[in-house]
């Protein structure tokens, strides 16, 4: 029973991690810079929903669509008015500019949420999804938790289609793999940047609504997830959406089972230990110009087998 409960807990937590990290890595992969304001957009989606549904009384589906649209527009405005002006700058100015602008934006948004809606935690209702539940082998799973898992699956199915079967997705991939080559082949980088930021913002808004419905809504909602997103994105591969999905679920399941045996201090420490080991392994195994650790390990293993055979 405890293992089944932990598995369900891990799948639900992993769904949140994976969707958060996937939206984060789309922007990270394309722009080469992490969006430090991502958690604030996550909370923003939830606050828009709270305003539309809890305070204004609109149906929750309208609130969800409104939250996604509002944060997508906010993301687009931020990209066009603040970040796009930094693209032509020299690298150090671009890197620090984007990081500082997005950190500043996060602080302003967090303060703004507190001013408008207060610091106290808010509860948001998503129809009757929180109240109703189903039994899975004797374990109760709320409808909301099923929706969270379904949303994550649908989200990744959509992203898989977008990235692999549309021109926009192929452009995104091209920029992630080799920006210079993508420009040479005529891809409109400015347009792809805008699409990536808007798409990432829209996804994170929906995830923010679901997360707030699961737990509570506060101005700092999502800041603890930002650190986990770095771990997931690096382990899954920067810019690799499906890598974020696998790493996100792996982290969620690991935390759900690890808590049965370890205190949170050791859980977090072990997550960062894996990250450090990952970087060390990359430094040891990969040669200059190589990026994929798995490909590098396969190549070294093949060479080793050939050496032994000879």
């Amino acid at each position: 029973m405890v293992l089944l409960e932990s598995l369900i807990n891990g799948l639900i937590q992993g769904s949140i991690f994976a969707v958060f990290a996937a939206s984060f890595t789309i922007i990270f992969g394309v722009m080469d810079i992490p969006n430090m304001g991502h958690a604030a957009l996550f909370a923003g989606g939830a606050y828009v929903f709270y305003q539309l549904v809890n305070l204004t009384g609109l149906p929750w589906i309208v609130g969800l669509i409104g939250a996604v649209l509002a944060i997508a527009v906010l993301g687009a405005v931020v990209e066009k008015t603040l970040l796009s002006r930094l693209y032509g700058r020299k690298e150090s100015e671009y890197v620090f500019g984007v990081i500082l602008v997005t950190i500043g934006l996060a602080r302003i948004l967090e303060r703004g949420y507190a001013q408008i809606w207060g610091h106290a935690p808010k509860y948001i209702e998503l129809g009757n999804l929180q109240e109703n539940s189903v039994q899975v082998s004797g374990t109760s799973v709320s409808h909301l938790e099923l929706v969270v898992i379904a949303f994550a699956v649908a989200n990744f199915a959509f992203l898989y289609w977008l990235i692999n079967y549309t021109d926009t997705g192929l452009s995104l991939q091209a920029i992630v793999q080799n920006r210079e080559l993508a420009i040479m082949r005529g891809i409109n980088v400015d347009r792809v940047f805008l699409i990536a930021f808007t798409l990432g913002a829209a996804m994170i808004a929906a995830a923010g609504v679901l997360n707030a419905a699961m737990f509570t809504l506060e101005p700092t909602l999502g800041f603890s997830l930002l650190i986990k997103a770095f771990i997931i994105v690096i382990l899954g591969g920067i810019g690799r959406v499906m890598g974020a999905m696998v790493a996100g679920y792996a982290l969620g399941l690991y935390e759900a089972f690890a808590v049965l045996y370890l205190s949170s201090y050791y859980i977090y420490a072990s997550e960062f230990a894996v990250l450090i080991a990952f970087f060390l392994l990359k430094a040891i195994v990969l040669s200059e110009g190589e990026d994929s650790l798995i490909a590098g390990l396969k190549e070294r293993a093949t060479s080793l087998r050939q050496g032994v055979a000879e």
Binding site: E5, I12, Q13, A114, P121, N211, F215, Y265
Partner: protein, 415 residues
Amino acid sequence: MPEYKRRSFLAKSCAATGIAVGLAGCMGDSGGSQVQLGAINPLSGSAAFFGELATEAQSAWVENVNGNGGLEIGGETREINIVEYDDESSNDQARSAAQRLTTSDNVSMILSSWRSNGAIAINEIINNNQIPTFTHGFTPQVNTDGTYMMRLTVSTVMDAYPALQFVSDSDDIEKIGVIAEEGDWGDDTLDLMEWWFNEADNAGDYENLGRFSFSQQDFSSYITKARNSDIDALYVQTWASAMQRFIEQQDSAGLNDDMPILTGLGGADYNSLGEVGGSMSNVYALGVYTRLSYADDDQIAETISDEALSQFEDYQSIENAPDHPTAYNVYADAQAAEYALTEAGSTNGEDLREALVGNEITTILGNATINDRGQPSIPGALIKFDGSSGDAEIDTVAWDGQLPPITSIPPETDL
């Protein structure tokens, strides 16, 4: 509220521009017969919710005192003025605010500082300058002999005391599970458990079921672990929004149907008890200031002295006095400052400390006595809640009495 000046922003503006005239403005109104008191409140950052309540409660106190003509101090009637700084929920800002209050603003007392780390950050400054300071940090690390750091809140090691009393007296609970925050407070809670059950040989036992961070969103794994452990009750040590998240989630998972949920100060200090009301069934919470929110309940009223109830009625009649347990605590600190100023007949820090230590002080929280280490003995109650109506209502008072001023494990005070 003309006497009440929030000057954090102004002070920063002055520092940034270096305008001499502005700087003079920042130095405040030091003339006349006004008594200058300080406040370091978190008006932004993670603890801002509490900081804003503190500002409102202190404003209410200032308006009340000055509206009645001021305080009688050493034969002279003097109005009070509070100089407030925003510590931005940060230790550096708290330290810098304490430095300004004690050296530039020349305050006689500091009515509030927040968070355990915030208390540690300013401890040296307020002691060196001999400025009695009330803290809402819970750490016993500032409870040293002769300290100027005072509190009317419980220390971290007092937090679980009523729940442990209840467990040891109970016939139904043999073993409790414990989940606690990472950090000093959680360490202190577990140290107290270890001492209580294993060294002091009280009835019962405990099992550490894990630690979590204050920002923990999802408690489902901890709830799963508790449900599958061989325990009769679960003690949870955290506070504010983290406690709210836990209470809500354990209720959704039905853990409170299986066992009582015991909480310490955190349980009594929700940001908004109304928000978690329906989730409070079979939840026990220590009430020190929360009791006042339920003062109209007969069982709770019996745990509060008549004098404290009378003072609380006066508090409620003050316009704009916030209706929140944290605000009651802040207001009680201000009442203790009022007692010290009038009793000492002086605004000298050493005299004020002498008036505060060892004397029984009556505030809206009841009768408290602060010891030489700055820790009070203060009345409290372990309240069992019922949330079946959708609101947090009083079920029973499981324990009540004077909480002893514990500041170390093993306790240096007689329990």
